[in-house]
């Protein structure tokens, strides 16, 4: 067993409102959302979070044509994270690098596209693409990144619905502790806006957000919230064991302090606040902390009428009224729900708080739902605070998977 201390040394991301951590953070502090109207097959214009990174920065035109959007996002984020980490990539043994990417789903985009394609040929399957299988295997996003980077260590995805971004980081920390790899590229990605199915599915659940102003459509905790804005995105980190990071003089963003993953075992889609609270408590316990030691709670809340209330119930159960230094916020209010990327992106958006001692707010709350009126909720304006030493990030998903990840300010 190697050192148990795992640190974040690099971040690469693309969000609907930013293609670097600096741009993303600036927009979170300035209240700039990134939601727009896009044409969705069979459905017409829908609200969505679209990423505007340049794929040609790290891929050839042919790689983009052959690969998937999730693969492209993974490559962009992985390359950006590695550049940010200042790892000597040429000298890095590639068989000791692991790529662990969380995904909500993968393959729907390509399958829908192929069915649409053969519909133009009277559904004759001889027109079905020979790229369908490599594009739709569940490990595609990590596999494309491994091809692009020449990584020969383990590269696979972690399917965990919308908890997947956190799971990518958690799994990477576990693999580093086990000594399976020396450097992990990890987090989550989503290409979901390119499948009509996810929009149609949420609409059939009465859980798809609508609003006349796109930037105001994602409104967790607001009384008038009416559902999820589907978004794409990606955020990958480089994680290393502390001694390895220190040996090369790496910049350290934060240390993994604790985490927990559990399951509701109660419903396909409805959250379970009791299990969510258990997950949060267990992560705090593993970190050796008390609830009052948590300074930022970044919520999962997706702006569904019931889901937000249930998460607030869980947070209230854990933190109660006795945590004056605990501030609560939500990042989806800017970028919508980036699905498999959500946990990783939302954590990244809060990491600069260690330096600027500012908590980014939840925007779009015109009338706070009394059922969501948590102590410490930061609404509409950034809040300067006395200290930020810990950040707790919730990400929950369908079929009742809950994940909580805690990072802390690095102190040697």
């Amino acid at each position: 067993m190697k050192s148990s201390r795992i640190v974040i040394t690099g971040i690469g991301l693309t969000a609907p409102n930013g293609n670097s951590l600096a741009e993303f953070r600036q927009n979170l502090l300035q209240g700039v959302a990134g939601i727009e109207r896009v044409e969705i097959r069979y459905m017409g214009a829908q609200l969505a979070g679209v990423c505007h990174y340049d794929p040609l920065r790290y891929q050839t035109k042919k790689e983009i044509r052959v690969g998937t959007r999730a693969g492209s996002i993974s490559i962009y984020c992985a390359r950006e994270a590695l550049a940010d980490s200042r790892v000597d990539w040429a000298a890095q043994p590639k068989d000791r690098v692991g790529i662990y990417i969380g995904c909500t789903e993968h393959g729907n985009v390509e399958t829908e596209n192929e069915i649409y394609n053969i519909s133009k040929f009277n559904y004759d399957t001889k027109f079905w693409s020979h790229y369908h299988n490599p594009r739709t295997v569940a490990n595609n996003p990590s596999g494309e990144a491994s091809l692009n980077l020449g990584v020969t260590g383990p590269a696979y995805t972690i399917g965990a619905a919308c908890a997947a971004g956190n799971l990518g980081l958690i799994h990477a920390a576990q693999m580093l502790r086990l000594g399976e790899v020396d450097l992990a590229i990890c987090g989550g990605v989503s290409e979901s806006i390119h499948t009509f199915g996810i929009f149609a599915g949420f609409k059939s659940q009465n859980a798809l957000a609508t609003h006349t102003e796109p930037g105001k459509a994602s409104r967790p905790f607001d009384l008038a919230r009416n559902g999820i804005v589907v978004s794409e995105g990606g955020c990958l980190y480089t994680l290393e064991r502390l001694e390895d990071a220190q040996a090369r003089g790496a910049k350290i963003y934060a240390e993994i302090a604790g985490y927990h993953v559990n399951s509701d075992a109660s419903d396909y889609v409805l959250p379970n606040p009791v299990r969510q609270a258990e997950c949060v408590r267990a992560s705090i316990r593993r970190a050796g902390l008390e609830p009052r030691d948590i300074h930022i709670v970044n919520t999962h809340a997706t702006a569904t009428p019931l889901g937000d209330i249930q998460e607030c119930e869980a947070i209230r159960a854990v933190f109660g009224e006795g945590c004056p230094d605990t501030h609560v916020n939500n990042t989806k209010s800017y970028i919508g729900h980036c699905m498999g990327a959500a946990g990783a992106l939302e954590l990244a958006g809060n990491l600069p708080s260690f330096d600027d001692l500012t908590v980014h707010p939840t925007i779009n709350v015109d009338r706070l739902d009394p059922a969501c009126a948590l102590p410490g909720l930061v609404l509409n304006q950034p809040r300067k605070v006395a200290k930020v030493d810990t950040i707790l990030n919730n990400s929950f998903g369908m079929l009742g998977i809950n994940s909580t990840l805690i990072v802390k300010r690095f102190a040697a």
Partner: protein, 87 residues
Amino acid sequence: MTKDECKKVVIDIIADIAPDEDLSTLKPEVRLRDQLQLDSMDFLDIVMELRKRHGIEVPEADYIQLASLDSCANYLTPKFNALSARS
């Protein structure tokens, strides 16, 4: 269709499946694989695009006929002409 027109059809397809390549200096008698970064999936792309765009079928046993622009033209031009004669 002439053989030169047939080569133009093939080049148009290759331009889409290998968009990073410079096709202006392609030598018609040299194997495409020796001039371009093309793998077996790319050749399946050529077969698929011939099917989709032009209704031309290339059986697997004949894939070798697609090795160079010249061999493509020799093999495909009669197929194009037979197709246009039928329509």
